[in-house]
Each structure stands twice: as structure tokens, then as C-alpha cells.
């Protein structure tokens, strides 16, 4: 297999010229998104350059402390991002549960992956540790974000239905079962669709990366299958933890709906 082709500075500049072309079209069509495209391009460039240097440093100075530190940063960023991306106000309790579900769900899945499935050697090998943790955390973050929105929306729009069930002597768990199940569906659906379309509709990022780096596509799919299962497990586990404890925050000790 060939080693990955290097992109020269000029080739990279030509990619930016492609963006300039896009900007010309946007301006010509008077689509008011020029600023956003320019800012996003800048941000992406700066973020990736910085991450590049950080990763070079971490890869060259393999140390479990750095790997753990990166993992913690990713978790914090993910939790913060869920808070920010949820359009509706979140209670303190719900925020706490989001953080716990996110951290417990992804960490459990990741450790299983690290020590049992792939068996990184050493266990903190940053070349595996960081990208795989990133994929599990990123996907779980999206899952929980969708789950949180669907749960809040469900409780809001079906408040009367939940109250009617409580009036009849339902436990909070029974009264909100439908909303909880709907939230699980919304959270997990993108991951399921992703699995179904995999390899046919698109080549997933990780597999593309492994292929680009010169490995055989057959080796690449083994990783992809493993990571896809890991992602599904991690998303499901964190969403289940979130929903199991999350719905309870809508009720008080007297099993009354607090909205």
C-alpha cells in the first residue's frame, strides 16, 4: 500500500480558492451568509491548526496524563455543548443528570472498547485513545442533545396527558412512558440510520481516514464495524441513563408534575 499523499501548501491554498468561488456565488445570489462562511472557515482553520500542534505534542510525548486530560476536556466540552444547544431552559437537576449520563455512558463504553475490543497498547496510546474517545463522545453528545429536546418537548406538549394519567393513579414512570420512549427514538434514530446507510450512502470518516493513511480497506472496515458498534452502544447507554433519571426531574416528591 502507498503511504498517504502529502498536500503541499499550494494545494491547500487552492482549496481556499474554492471557498472564494463559493463566496462570489453567495454574494452574486445575495444570500446573506457571507460573514458566517468567512468566520466558520477561519475558526475551522485556527482550531485545526491548534489541534494539530497539540496532537503532535501529545503523540510525541506519550503519557497517560495527557490522554486523560484530553478525554476530560472532550467530556466537559460535550456537556457544555448540550446545555448550549438545547433551546429550552434546563433545570439544575436536569443539567446534573445530563452531565452524569454523558460521562458515565461514554466512559463505560470507551473503557470496554479500550480494554476489551481493540485493546490499545499501551491503554493510553493517544493515536487510538483520542480519536476513538472523540467519536464516542461526539455521537453521544448529539444523541443526548436530541433526547433532551424531545423529552422537554414531549412533557410540554403532553402535559395534560401526563396529568390525566396521574389523576388515575399512574406512577410518574407509567404516566411519562410515551414521552420517554419517543425521546429515546429521536435520540437513537440518527445513529441507526447511520448504520443502515454505512458503506452504501457514504464512506464514514474514520474508514476514509484509515484508507487515506494507506491501510487496506478490509482492515479499515474492521475498525469501522467495531467503532460503529461502540458508537451505538455509547449513544444508547448515555441516552438510557439520561432518560431513566431525567424524567424524574419533572416530578416532585408528591408525584406531581412540575412544569
Amino acid at each position: 500500500m502507498n503511504k498517504m499523499m502529502d498536500i503541499t501548501l499550494w494545494q491547500l491554498i487552492s482549496a481556499y480558492i474554492f471557498m472564494v468561488l463559493l463566496l462570489v456565488i453567495v454574494r452574486w445570489r445575495r444570500i446573506p451568509r457571507e460573514k458566517e462562511i468567512v468566520i466558520a472557515t477561519f475558526r475551522m482553520t485556527i482550531q485545526l491548526v491548534l489541534v494539530g500542534y497539540v496532537l503532535v505534542f501529545i503523540f510525541e510525548n506519550e503519557n497517560w496524563i495527557y490522554s486523560i486530560l484530553v478525554l476530560m476536556l472532550m467530556e466537559i466540552f460535550a456537556v457544555y455543548n448540550i446545555y448550549r444547544r438545547t433551546k429550552m431552559p434546563l433545570t439544575k437537576n436536569l443539567k446534573k443528570i445530563i452531565a452524569i449520563a454523558m460521562i458515565v455512558g461514554t466512559l463505560f463504553s470507551f473503557l470496554y472498547f479500550d480494554f476489551i475490543v481493540v485493546q490499545f497498547s499501551p491503554w493510553y496510546d493517544p493515536r487510538y485513545f483520542i480519536p476513538i474517545a472523540g467519536m464516542l463522545i461526539g455521537n453521544s453528545m448529539t444523541g443526548i442533545t436530541l433526547g433532551v429536546s424531545a423529552l422537554l418537548e414531549g412533557f410540554r406538549s403532553r402535559k395534560k396527558e401526563i396529568e390525566a394519567a396521574l389523576m388515575l393513579g399512574a406512577t410518574p414512570s407509567k404516566a411519562s412512558k410515551r414521552m420517554v420512549n419517543n425521546a429515546f427514538d429521536s435520540a437513537i434514530l440518527p445513529t441507526i440510520n447511520n448504520m443502515v446507510g454505512m458503506g452504501i450512502v457514504f464512506l464514514p470518516g474514520m474508514m476514509t481516514g484509515v484508507i487515506l493513511s494507506g491501510a487496506s480497506p478490509l482492515d479499515a472496515i474492521k475498525y469501522q464495524i467495531a467503532i460503529m458498534l461502540g458508537i451505538t452502544g455509547s449513544v444508547s447507554l448515555s441516552v438510557i441513563i439520561f432518560l431513566y433519571f431525567g424524567f424524574k426531574t419533572f416530578f416532585n416528591k408528591r408525584a406531581q408534575l412540575e412544569l
Binding site: E161, L168, G169, A170, R254, Q256
Partner: protein
């Protein structure tokens, strides 16, 4: 059955003293915003009073497990809520919620007939008219064999003829099984015709009526 002493709920309700007797049909009568629904919800444990005490069978309502309380003191809300599924699902869901045993189709059909509802048990509940939904919701709680029924305007969406038949049926059930029913109505005629006792909200609620 219920005793209320100096009960306050936000700025909606302030009741000095109220006794609701056992095995009677009681009507709560008053304008909108006079606190009728709030009072029912407090008796059902769906709302908790801020001050005072509410006794149910001589024990503070707060000492009951709220879920167990609601299974004895079942409430039918103002809006007839239909859950996902068929008429049968909607009739049985009260039994499921309160962990009681399900009943045979024959009993369900019989109840629908008594309530003048000629619908198949397999019909989608969502497609029923307002009046039909109200009767399904009513039938649902009658199946539950509760001790007390709290009914918030149970016949508001029915025409006069059906309203009387439904009320007759309810009164018959309450008397036959020696139950207690507390219902809310806007109709003075219904109140006077069916209630053993009428409680006028303006007499018991010391808070100003908030017009809604």
C-alpha cells in the same frame, strides 16, 4: 370523608372549614376561576395546599402515598384526554395505570351501551367527537372501582338528553355501590337535580374570584 381546615392554595383558594360527607353526591358550584378544579386537584393529590390541613378518612392527605391516594380518589379532568390507541385501550388504561386487573370486552361494551355510546372497541379513540371522548373518559374511571370519584365537568360536551342519561347512570352507580362522587358543573339545573348537597364556592372560598 374529607375535612379541610384553613386551607390556602396560592392566591386561588382559601377555605376556612369544609366537610365533605361520605357516600353522597356532592356538587361544587361556582363561576369559572372560583377554584373548583383546584379544589378537586388538591383532593386528588395532584396539587398540595400551601397552608392548613386536608384530612381524608381522618388522616392528613400528606401522610398518604400520593399514588395510592389517587387510586382511591380517582379524578376525571376537565378535558377528556384520549391516550394513543383504540377505544378499548383507552377504557382499560385506567386499570393498567392503577395496577388493577383488566376486564372482559363484554363489560366494556355494556358500559358503553349504558352511556349511549355506539362505538366499536376497536375504533381509534383519537377520531371520536368531543362528546364521545368525554363518555369514554368517564367510562374509563367508572371501571376503576374507586371509593371516591372527582368529576370536573363530566358532561360539559354532551347534549341535554345524553347529559341526563349519563348523570342518571352515575347517580345510580354511586347509590348502588355506596360511593362518594364530587362533581363540578356550571349548570344550576344539573346541580339541583342530582346533588345530595351543593357546595357554593363563593360561600367557602374567601379569595376573590379571578375571572378567566
Amino acid at each position: 370523608m374529607f375535612m379541610l381546615n384553613n386551607v390556602v392554595f396560592r392566591d386561588i383558594l382559601h377555605i376556612d372549614k369544609l366537610e365533605i360527607p361520605d357516600r353522597k353526591v356532592i356538587c361544587l358550584f361556582g363561576e369559572s376561576g372560583s377554584g373548583k378544579s383546584t379544589l378537586l386537584k388538591m383532593l386528588n393529590g395532584l396539587l398540595t395546599h400551601d397552608h392548613g390541613e386536608i384530612l381524608f378518612q381522618n388522616q392528613s392527605i400528606l401522610e398518604y402515598n400520593p399514588i395510592e391516594l389517587r387510586r382511591k380518589v380517582v379524578m376525571l379532568g376537565q378535558d377528556p384526554i384520549m391516550f394513543e390507541g383504540t377505544v378499548r385501550d383507552n377504557l382499560l388504561i385506567g386499570l393498567d395505570f392503577s395496577e388493577r386487573e383488566r376486564v372482559e370486552d363484554a363489560k366494556l361494551l355494556n358500559l358503553l351501551k349504558e352511556l349511549e355510546l355506539s362505538k366499536s372497541l376497536d375504533d381509534e379513540a383519537d377520531k371520536l367527537s368531543g362528546g364521545e371522548k368525554q363518555r369514554v373518559a368517564f367510562a374509563r374511571i367508572l371501571l376503576m372501582d374507586a371509593v371516591i370519584y372527582l368529576l370536573d365537568e363530566p358532561t360539559s360536551a354532551l347534549d341535554e338528553g345524553t347529559e341526563h342519561k349519563v348523570m342518571d347512570f352515575m347517580i345510580h352507580r354511586v347509590q348502588q355501590d355506596q360511593l362518594t362522587a364530587i362533581f363540578v358543573t356550571h349548570s344550576k339545573e344539573v346541580a339541583e337535580q342530582y346533588a345530595d348537597q351543593i357546595i357554593y364556592m363563593e360561600d367557602i372560598n374567601k379569595k376573590e374570584v379571578i375571572s378567566s
